[in-house]
């Protein structure tokens, strides 16, 4: 799994966000459009694309997009 592709999939869960403004170091919870529904969309996307189950706690515990990427990689 490639982190660029992961970031692209991540960006798609927002209404209007260009993947190019995101980096692995982006603290995703501080993004303007981040809310609990985007969180659910991300959980759904990760289940769909990578067959990995993410929980609310995983999101709460993660700071950067790379943190999420690492959790998903570990569980694949």
């Amino acid at each position: 799994m490639d982190i660029k592709e992961f970031i692209s999939n991540f960006a798609e869960q927002f209404d209007d966000l260009d993947a190019s403004v995101l980096t692995p170091e982006t603290e995703f919870k501080t993004l303007e459009d981040w809310n609990s529904l985007v969180a659910l969309s991300v959980i759904a996307m990760i289940d769909e694309e990578y067959d990995v189950t993410l929980k609310g706690n995983d999101i709460t515990g993660a700071k950067t997009i790379e943190d999420l990427y690492n959790i998903v990689s570990e569980r694949m």
Binding site: N35, S36, L37, L40, D47, E48, T53, K55, G56, I59
Partner: protein, 354 residues
């Protein structure tokens, strides 16, 4: 657990909705989130209005109102009722059973079997399966299945997770024997290890209600509720639905030999539009076949959402015609259940208000 039934039909559905409709916008001030954030939630979830019972209106009141309507209009004969199933998580009393109260109110025969069933989101499917099981008995020909909830009074108005979608409602479904020789397929699964994903902590015997359980507390997300209120672990429930419901339906296709495209309508429990769209996508079926319009217009009244969905979206189409429906309920318990059956040529399929 798989079930197979033959020669049973649903001959009528009457949904009873509270008259009082409250708009999402009118309640935004109650939540500890900015109006802007609330409006975003509204857009994403599609919240518009929800129907809430008046103070003092109970689940039995709704059921009695509906049954009275059916008797008054010649749509149901009192002496034909062989069983009353009352499916609710908000019965009138711990004791006596609400189904008994209803039987007594109308003076229905003593041979009528009365059962209260504590089930929620899968309550319509569980209720139907129990109805079909009873109808296998020679002396049971007609079952009155009642699904009723008035959970809004146990939901915190300051809980943005739960209040916007809270809904009260009841439905009366007449289930009876028939000679059509058609087969109904059903299944049920349970996962009690996650029983507390949907919970009302106080009010039972484990933690009786008292002054302490009425104290409002704020959770990590900023929502306020007390122990007497419903609490939902939203992401756990979401994960559960995504993980378990598609395989259940896939199994139902195999069990019944029906292809996904041969189903006319997917009448699923209505937690919210977002979850239903994701489910439809996972199952590879068009959104149009899985109505997701109940929460936004009426709210989520747990086990009553599926009959509401059927009455609201199909109405007379099921009186004049026949269709193949896939029903599914999932949530409280955790319990998940689905049914593949043909439905149609019904005596009635409508909504009234109370």
């Amino acid at each position: 657990m798989d079930f197979v039934f033959k020669n049973k039909r649903i001959s009528g559905i009457l949904t009873i909705l509270p008259r009082k409709a409250i708009k999402f916008e009118d309640e935004i001030e109650n939540y500890s989130f900015s109006p802007a954030k609330c409006m975003k939630l509204k857009l994403a979830m599609g919240y518009k209005e929800h129907r809430i019972a008046e103070p003092g209106q109970t689940s039995v009141d709704f059921a009695i109102h509906g049954l009275q309507y059916l008797f008054d209009n010649g749509m149901l004969q009192k002496d034909e009722i062989d069983a009353i199933l009352f499916v609710s998580q908000s019965p009138d009393y711990i004791m006596p059973p609400s189904s008994n109260i209803i039987q007594g109110h109308f003076g229905i025969k003593q041979d009528c079997l009365c059962l209260d069933i504590n089930q929620g989101c899968a309550g319509f499917e569980i209720g139907l399966i129990q109805s079909f099981l009873l109808l296998d008995q020679p002396s049971i020909n007609k079952v009155v299945l009642i699904n009723a909830e008035v959970l809004s009074s146990r939901t915190s108005k300051r809980d943005r997770n739960s209040w916007p979608l809270a809904g009260d409602a009841a439905a009366i479904t007449i289930v009876e024997k028939t000679n059509d020789n058609l087969t109904i397929y059903a299944n049920v699964k349970t996962d009690g290890t996650n029983a507390f994903a949907l919970n009302i902590p106080a009010g039972g015997f484990r933690m009786p209600s008292n002054a302490e359980t009425a104290v409002m507390e704020q959770d990590e997300a900023g929502n306020w509720r007390c122990k007497d209120n419903l609490v939902m672990k939203g992401d756990d429930v979401f994960n559960f639905v995504q993980r378990e419901v598609p395989p259940m339906i896939e199994h139902l296709y195999v069990q019944s030999g029906v292809d996904r495209n041969e189903v006319d309508w997917y009448m699923f429990h209505q937690p919210n539009k977002f979850m239903l769209h994701k489910l439809a996508d996972k199952l590879g079926i068009p959104h149009e076949k899985m109505p997701a319009n109940i929460v936004e217009n009426f709210g989520n009244a747990s086990g009553v959402t599926v009959p509401t969905c059927i009455s609201y979206n199909l109405g007379d189409q099921l009186v004049n015609g026949k269709m193949r429906l896939c029903l599914a309920g999932f949530g409280v318990g955790l319990t998940w259940s689905s049914i593949m059956m043909e439905m149609g040529n019904m005596n009635f399929n409508k909504i009234i208000e109370f």
